[in-house]
């Protein structure tokens, strides 16, 4: 799987690259418009992470260029602007997703995997991890071919974990992925603790080979045996 990061902030570019490489992606980078254009013209990628404000041109123009070349790459716009206009313009131009800066690396992984999965025509839509199979579109989970009943929130949590297997996820990132902006002022993260506890119990009871481990003071990790 090849991912191209077009981002002018080199420090951020490097961090994103490191994180995606840990997930097994082959990552290439571009720091400005012309570099980005060059890479798009010469190679094919599974996913392109595109910053809008680039030295030498607008990221949206690159997106247009890409569509004109008839390329089918999944594109995720990564922008500091977080404005609805840009979001709408980007999605209208054929971007698959929009990620506002600042983001959690776990969120980035989840989004990249999700667009690649969706873009895989005819490919398998399920994710298999040990003896667990997750069908994201159907929102169902099977363990040893037996369905595990989860509520909406539990499923979101699990989905976030399986897109970031063996990665330490901070509890804030986890909370935000499931409850969105509503957790803004939450004065403690006890609710995350109890939700994860429930999910862990269900997984253990159904004999799943994956396990959610708490990392004291920081967050959680989905460990595959």
């Amino acid at each position: 799987m090849k991912v191209l990061i077009i981002e002018d902030e080199l420090s951020l570019q490097e961090t994103m690259k490191l994180s995606l490489e840990r997930e097994g992606f082959v990552v290439e980078t571009a720091g400005n418009y012309s570099q980005g254009l060059l890479k798009i013209e010469d190679y094919n990628y599974d996913c392109i992470l595109l910053d809008i404000m680039l030295p030498g041109g607008n990221g949206l123009m690159l997106l247009e260029e890409l569509k004109r070349m008839g390329k089918k790459e999944s594109v995720i716009i990564v922008s500091a602007k977080d404005s609805i206009d840009d979001k709408v313009a980007g999605l209208n131009l054929g971007a698959d997703d929009y990620l506002a800066k600042p983001f959690h690396l776990a969120e980035l992984n989840a989004r990249v995997k999700s667009v690649i999965r969706r873009n895989k025509a005819g490919g398998s839509l399920e994710i298999t991890l040990g003896n667990m199979v997750v069908y994201p579109d159907l929102q169902t989970v099977k363990i040893n071919n037996k369905e595990l009943v989860l509520n909406r929130k539990e499923f979101s949590l699990l989905y976030y974990f399986i897109t970031n297997p063996n990665r330490l996820i901070n509890k804030i990132a986890l909370a935000e992925s499931v409850w969105g902006d509503h957790i803004d002022q939450a004065d403690n993260f006890d609710f995350i603790y109890s939700q994860v506890k429930n999910l862990r119990k269900k997984l253990t009871l159904s004999g799943a080979s994956v396990e959610i481990k708490a990392v004291y003071g920081f967050g959680y990790k989905l460990v595959t045996e």
Binding site: E9, L105, Q185, S194
Partner: protein
Amino acid sequence: MRLLHYTLSRLTIILFCILSVWAFIFYRFMIDEINDETDNMLSNYKEHILRKFLIQGDDNSMQEQIMGSYKITPIPKDIAKEYSETYIDTVIYVDIESEYEPARALKTTFMGPDEQHYELIVLSSVLEKEDLIETIWWSVLILYIILLISIIWVSEWVLKRSMQPLYKLLQWLSKYTLGRYSLAQPLNNETRIKEFSDLNKSISEMTLRNEKIYQSQKQFIGNASHELQTPLAVCINKIELLSEMPECTEKQLSILNDMYETLQRTVRMNKSLLLLSRIENNQFPDTKEISINDNIKLLLQDFSEIYDEKEIIVNIEEKGVLKWLMNETLSSVLLSNLLKNAFVHTPKKGEIKIIISSKKLTIANNGFAKLDENKIFSRFYKDENKKESTGLGLSIVSTIAALYNLNIKYSFHNDMHQFEITFPK
């Protein structure tokens, strides 16, 4: 007091004083003139009598005529020597009317052909002064009233017409809101009066200047928060990478977590500031009819989950269906901020009461003491015990409310903080 009424009342008082003085002086002049004329006449009369007396002699020392009367009495020589000619005011008895009437008298002496000194008093009945005063009084009064009415009428008319630009300007100013009205509705107030056109110009320039300052301030906040996003992203993501390094100890992870949480708080604050600046920049133009009831119930599900630990009792009372035309994002931000506020600040096992009627939404929650209602909606005003709070939530609420002309009120009674939003119909 309106300018018109103020001007007219001053005019009335000043006019009254001026007319009173004028009436007095006018009266004095009239009396003086009358006396003068009478004296002249008496003098002529005297000459006539004397001529007659000296030529013919006269046995009849007291003569009464239509125009007046005279009296000639012999007097000793020594008195006559001291005598000087004088005019005096006196009274005469009029038989016909059987009353005393005011009169003017000329007293003088002369020497007859017989070397005898005589005193001559010539009397002339004068116009009745009292009548005169009355007449003058009345005419001045009538003049005053007529003058006043016409002045009031004329000045009202003139003032109203000439003050028109001022009233228009005032009306414009009262509608003027920084960042909203002035650009959409420029001051269009042509006038030939220099003072007003100067005023128009100054005010237009001033509002334009304010507008520029306001815009650049808004832009600054927007840009500053915007420019912070990328560095924040770098820091957060580096911490995430660092935390995954196997050599990280639990102690180090705990420190990393503190950094991470602090950074997240900064991110939230930054996002809120951006949101505020976006709302103020009118970047949420799309509206649709939003059901407040449905929205609240949906949000309550999430919040009940998040604040499950606090065992808060939520009572929702739907007296009616509240629908309002607004931006979907903003309505959700408005309601979620209010609900979040209630959930965060309710003590454990406390109560949240929500009442929805067709034009009012009330959200009340348990609390301990009344908050300062003048500061509660201002930026960065927050509970000192709640360090995680950005202090921007309610400020965002009031900004959104202002955008849609909703009236939001805070009150505290029965140990409950209460936020009441009235939707104008």
